[in-house]
């Protein structure tokens, strides 16, 4: 059994009068494949944003590899090994695909990586993502699935310990979903913990070792995917919508 990598304790996120996350507690093991599902607006993206640092929780603690993340700026979380993708892909539009992949490496941990190594690792990331033949293209020339792969390539370029994949497969065709899923499996096999937020049930059930369900800002179940999906509360949450 591998060590606990990420600890979320008593997480709460309020926006003025609106509570997006009431309370979430979670332990994630290194190398795990955790799926997160829940109805729209339940707080899944908020959860990811709190771990990534885009949002500052109103209460609770997040500890990553033994170090608390409170007050740690977003870019430093990236340096510590937490990578994320965005729901709507956010490539750097004025740069080529290769340059996009180089960006995380050029600034990693203060930006002292020699350019030769930057290029090599960026190439490797593109290779893993299957984007080598698009290396010189600008993002506006990429298809949707290629843009998602670019998001992932950027995220894995620095060989992160934890990847937060926020609805990477949303809106993709079935075959494309499988392409991205294979990539995520490969990323996990290479040693990266993956937390996957997703709506596409077959992808999530296939991918996850553990499944967490968030409804109305609270965790209502976490464990074996089949068991969790069979819980009456989960059924109610989805069908009762």
């Amino acid at each position: 059994m591998s060590a606990i990598q990420l600890q979320v304790q008593g997480l709460q996120m309020r926006f003025g009068g609106f509570t997006a996350i009431k309370r979430i507690d979670l332990d994630v093991r290194a190398g795990e494949r955790l799926g997160v599902i829940g109805p729209n607006g339940s707080g899944k993206s908020t959860f990811v944003n709190c771990i990534a640092g885009t949002l500052v929780p109103t209460a609770g603690d997040i500890v990553f590899e033994g170090q608390p993340l409170k007050g740690v700026p977003i870019h430093q979380r990236a340096w510590r090994g937490i990578s994320r993708t965005f729901q709507l892909p956010r490539p750097f539009r004025s740069m080529t695909v290769l340059e996009n992949a180089c960006m995380p490496l050029m600034n990693h941990r203060g930006g002292r990586m020699p350019m030769g190594e930057v290029r090599d690792r960026a190439d490797r990331a593109l290779e893993r993502a299957g984007l080598v033949d698009k290396a010189g293209a600008l993002p506006d020339r990429l298809t949707q699935v290629e843009l998602r792969k670019l998001e992932l390539a950027k995220a894995i370029a620095t060989d992160p310990s934890l990847l937060l994949a926020d609805e990477v497969m949303a809106g993709l065709a079935s075959a494309e979903v499988d392409e991205v899923l294979d990539l995520l499996f490969e990323i996990n096999e290479a040693g990266t913990t993956v937390i996957m937020i997703e709506h596409i049930m077959r992808a999530v059930t296939r991918f996850s070792e553990r499944l967490m369900v968030i409804v109305a800002g609270e965790r209502i179940g976490c464990g074996d995917p089949a068991q969790v999906l069979a819980m009456p509360e989960v059924e109610r949450a989805y069908l009762g919508q």
């Binding site: 885009t54 870019h75 750097f92 004025s94 740069m95 180089c102 995380p104 990693h108």
Partner: protein, 315 residues
């Protein structure tokens, strides 16, 4: 494919070019030419400095006049304190304006870009008020400056100022190009393209933006340092004049953002046009022309003259 010049080589070329210009102008020996060229060079410096933060990183500084004015008045202050040497004034201006850029950046760069821009304008007005009320520096009555004697090789004070400005603008262009081609330049582009994504990719955006405001501010201050000697009479209304902000921005925009050559082209074109217009038409019309040109380019040619010459997206 042609390999672009490395920064040291480019700097050498710049130096050689600057020397060549200085020699050519010296052979012409015309006070008027030095005097007019000074203005063009000053705007190359200002526009290049503005472009570092505005064109590269996407943060629009409306307060160019503030930094320029601070440079002017640092010179006045040093002069009143008995320091008359131009190099000392330039260094002093760079230090003060750079510190100002750092401070302002620290205060406002955590906010949206639009708030930063508004804050820069407010800062310029604040500084102007401060200086206007500072009697030691002459206040609203103004201050007189006597031009320094030039060092041995140069013919006159005006040539001295011209050469100083030539050197500084060459320096600015080298610095800008150096930044543009470095990791910092790439990081700036990422910030401009999508700051949130940049931060998530590990770009320390705040730190780098601070670098941008500091370097940009320092260069703008340097542009103001010799201005006191150039005009021999300074008063806050003109030192902090809005014309500086508009001209600088217009030149960078018209020339082309995001590339070191853009502000140079924009400054040369626009400043020359203005010098001609000022002689033939009123100075107000001059300003109107700049404003209208800026609007026209923003609407019709947002990538500037450079964008028209090279239609592809990137430098």
């Amino acid at each position: 494919m042609k390999q672009p010049l490395s920064t040291p080589r480019f700097s050498l070329c710049c130096l050689v070019a600057a020397l060549a210009v200085a020699v050519v102008f010296r052979m012409a020996g015309s006070e008027y030419l030095w005097f007019s060229a000074y203005v063009v060079l000053q705007y190359i410096l200002l526009a290049t400095a503005w472009n570092i933060l505005g064109g590269y990183a996407g943060y629009v500084n409306f307060g160019t006049a503030g930094f320029f004015g601070v440079g002017v008045y640092t010179s006045v202050l040093l002069s009143k304190l008995g320091v008359g040497s131009l190099p000392a004034m330039i260094l002093g201006a760079a230090a003060v304006a750079g510190a100002l850029g750092l401070l302002m950046g620290y205060l406002t760069l955590r906010l949206r870009g639009a708030y930063f821009s508004i804050a820069t304008l407010c800062l310029a007005v604040l500084l102007q008020t401060l200086v206007t009320n500072w009697d030691y520096l002459g206040g609203s009555r103004g201050a007189y400056m006597i031009r320094p004697q030039p060092p041995a090789m140069l013919a006159s004070p005006v040539e001295y100022l011209f050469v100083a400005m030539l050197a500084m603008s060459a320096l600015a262009v080298c610095v800008a190009r150096g930044i543009e081609r470095s990791r910092i330049g790439y990081a700036f582009r990422a910030i401009r393209d999508d700051e949130v994504a940049a931060e998530s990719s590990g770009v320390p955006t705040f730190r780098l933006k601070l670098l941008g405001t500091t370097v940009s501010g320092a260069l703008m201050g340097m542009a103001g340092a010799p201005a006191a000697y150039y005009s021999t009479f300074v008063e806050p209304a003109s030192a902090f004049g809005l014309a500086y902000a508009v001209n600088t921005m217009a030149m960078a925009l018209i020339g082309g953002l995001g590339h070191w050559l853009g502000p140079v082209i924009g400054a040369v074109v626009l400043a020359t046009v203005q010098q001609v217009a000022m002689v033939t038409i009123s100075s107000d019309f001059n300003l109107l022309l700049v404003g209208l040109l800026m609007m026209a380019f923003l609407i019709a040619a947002p990538k500037g003259i450079l964008g028209l010459i090279r239609p592809e997206n990137r430098p």
